[in-house]
Symmetry: C2
Subunit: 120 residues, 2 copies
């Protein structure tokens, strides 16, 4: 039985950066909250598109040919296979929507690779 989920309340349950937390699932897609701060790594997801929706703050996604600025209430769909690098000068709260099992650093592995499928 699904109940309502409040995004701001869920954000209060964690404070670490670049570590997505799952708050809901729709079929085989997951809704993940993540706090971003600083510069992420260049990566791509070879199997799927990925959606970013900014809940609070602002961020940038750098692509090889352009930069997309996102503020509260903005979203973007990063297409499958498209190399990108998220960046947030100040902490930014984001909802990421993508199929379950997607690793945050895509085909790259490193210190910023987060544990997958962590629910709050």
């Amino acid at each position: 039985m699904q109940e309502s989920i409040n995004l701001k309340s869920k954000f209060e349950l964690f404070s670490d950066h670049w570590a997505p937390k799952v708050i809901a699932q729709m079929n085989d897609y997951q809704f993940k909250l993540v706090r971003l701060q600083g510069e992420f790594v260049w990566h791509e997801h070879t199997e799927t598109d990925e959606t970013f929706l900014v809940i609070e703050g602002s961020m940038t996604i750098e692509f090889t040919d352009r930069t997309v600025d996102l503020k509260e209430g903005d979203m973007v769909v990063v297409k499958r296979g498209e190399a990108h690098r998220p960046f947030a000068e100040h902490e930014c709260k984001v909802m990421v929507i993508e199929p379950m099992g997607v690793i945050n650093t895509g085909s790259e592995r490193g210190p910023l690779t987060a544990e997958n499928d962590v629910w709050i």
Copy 2:
């Protein structure tokens, strides 16, 4: 090439109720904006879950065994096959996320059945 999409700006592009507009697609899933006001029809989606995220205002989803109240920043995933009826006393702006092709009234057809796959 995907650019940023501002939800509030997109809502300014239409004013009709119960008529979802597609603003983005991720794989075979669509992000739809809809303005709700009044009472919708009881229906279910036999093939898929469906997500509601309230962008502005408040709404209620009535289920056969309970009622879920949603305000700005709240979301809920309605499970596949679960009969539900959305209601909004005052106009409420909502983002619906679901696979492309889903009809707003599910297995019911009537005056509130909206044209599908309308992009803004």
